[in-house]
Point group: C2
Chain length 300, copies 2
Amino acid sequence: MTDRRTDDFLIRPDPEDSRLSTAVTGVDHTGQSVDLKVVAERPLTLFLNAQEIVTMMTIGDHPDLLAVGYLLNQGMLSPDDTITGIDVDTDLEVVVVRTERETDYEEKMKKKVRTSGCAQGTVFGDVMESFEDVSLPDEAELRTSWLYRLTHEINTAPSLYLTAGAIHGCVLCEKDRPLVYMEDVGRHNAVDKIAGWMMMNGVSAADKIFYTTGRLTSEMVIKTVLMGIPILVSRSGFTAWGVDLARQAGLTLIGRARGKRFVALSGAERIVFDLDPDSVPDEDRKHRRKGAAAATEAAE
Amino acid sequence: MTDRRTDDFLIRPDPEDSRLSTAVTGVDHTGQSVDLKVVAERPLTLFLNAQEIVTMMTIGDHPDLLAVGYLLNQGMLSPDDTITGIDVDTDLEVVVVRTERETDYEEKMKKKVRTSGCAQGTVFGDVMESFEDVSLPDEAELRTSWLYRLTHEINTAPSLYLTAGAIHGCVLCEKDRPLVYMEDVGRHNAVDKIAGWMMMNGVSAADKIFYTTGRLTSEMVIKTVLMGIPILVSRSGFTAWGVDLARQAGLTLIGRARGKRFVALSGAERIVFDLDPDSVPDEDRKHRRKGAAAATEAAE
């Protein structure tokens, strides 16, 4: 497998952006002073029209996409809503999304606390009702040759992880091409930024593949299904309820994808085994940097 | 360094508990059927007296400790409250904590959504006011010989991670001894179970060391400080706001603790360098199982 140029990505992390990480000084195991970079983590307060919705902790890139994606994934925006403006005020750490439609989610926000609170992300309550209505396209496919190329390209792309660690990544892919690679301190933010990008660019979900560095929990499965993406891949492991939900929705769920290895626990009928796994090299140390060592850092 | 017996732990994960993981069948990279175990993830709805507070997703062990710790860490219970009963109904997936004091957190729960919502855990809003009032004990110390023994014992203890992966761990330690090792699908749950254990057993925080498999984010720093524990250690990395908050509170914050290496970005004055790091072996593959490879799984 030869590397394609990382210019293949439409959007990918910019480790050179000085706002996204901070230099700090500490002490190492020998007692000596040491300098390192740590990822930024700053508040961003989101308004939908006149209503304050949430304050998110984020690295701070793509606040417009994060805002739109959050609202979409919470069911507070629908894909056919007309967005009349997005105002970002970096100093005030505020983003305002304005829509043609009048909005009021006071009751919805109360309900969310009562049914699920904040303990496990943000996707419960009435969002589960929408989950049961989603029908994912049967005709989508994942060729193993695509999967091997995708994981290789993602692992070797420049990223904030490689600069500062302690960050999650999500990648929207089409066939063997990674399109949009987002990172953030919270994985839910990385997902939301991709959802925002898809809505703002009118991108179809039906032929896409979603890659995440994190675990395949119920929350991750629910978000992927609600976004309409039929295939979810991770190098990490599964939780039981994540597997149940994926099977219920007909989502192709692939975990532990490292080197030539992977396991599919749902929707394996979409996988086309078109490449002999023995022709795929095991991950060498360099590629493992976003594997073993890297994901250590990304553990939330 | 010779292994002490894992009986040193007062509580540690029970990988043999069949309720905590589920066997599932899938397809591997060669197209062959494969069986594996995945961690359980089930809802638990918490009531404080007559009020429904939250539904948490949890592996399901220690629901009583999780309930008490959650309420404590949310400021809904105070350490001097008298708990008159804790009822767990496993079938209904409900836990009820009863107190002598009458409680009503309707207003508090509304405020939480408005100020921070669910985007980044559960510790914002009025919890930040308490954070500024905490004073951590200066006289606490961390000898590097303790640190090396702790990480070695934790890495080699039996755990659900080793059985099923995709799980977070937190360990309450005293000097060189790991006391209570909790795992859960969400790291916040593992933390809360330890906080619950400390309250139910009247355990002092002032001389304790807290170990986590996850990143040293703002949320993790806030929880540790509010629990009154002066030293926080992780094998993962830092976020910028986590470092800021640790420095503000005078918390000893140690990350990237692997083999002989670590970095302290706050409170290094509590560290006593009593062991030559060159006498500490690098992590071998077996010990790395809860390091590199293990934390890959634990990435949330």
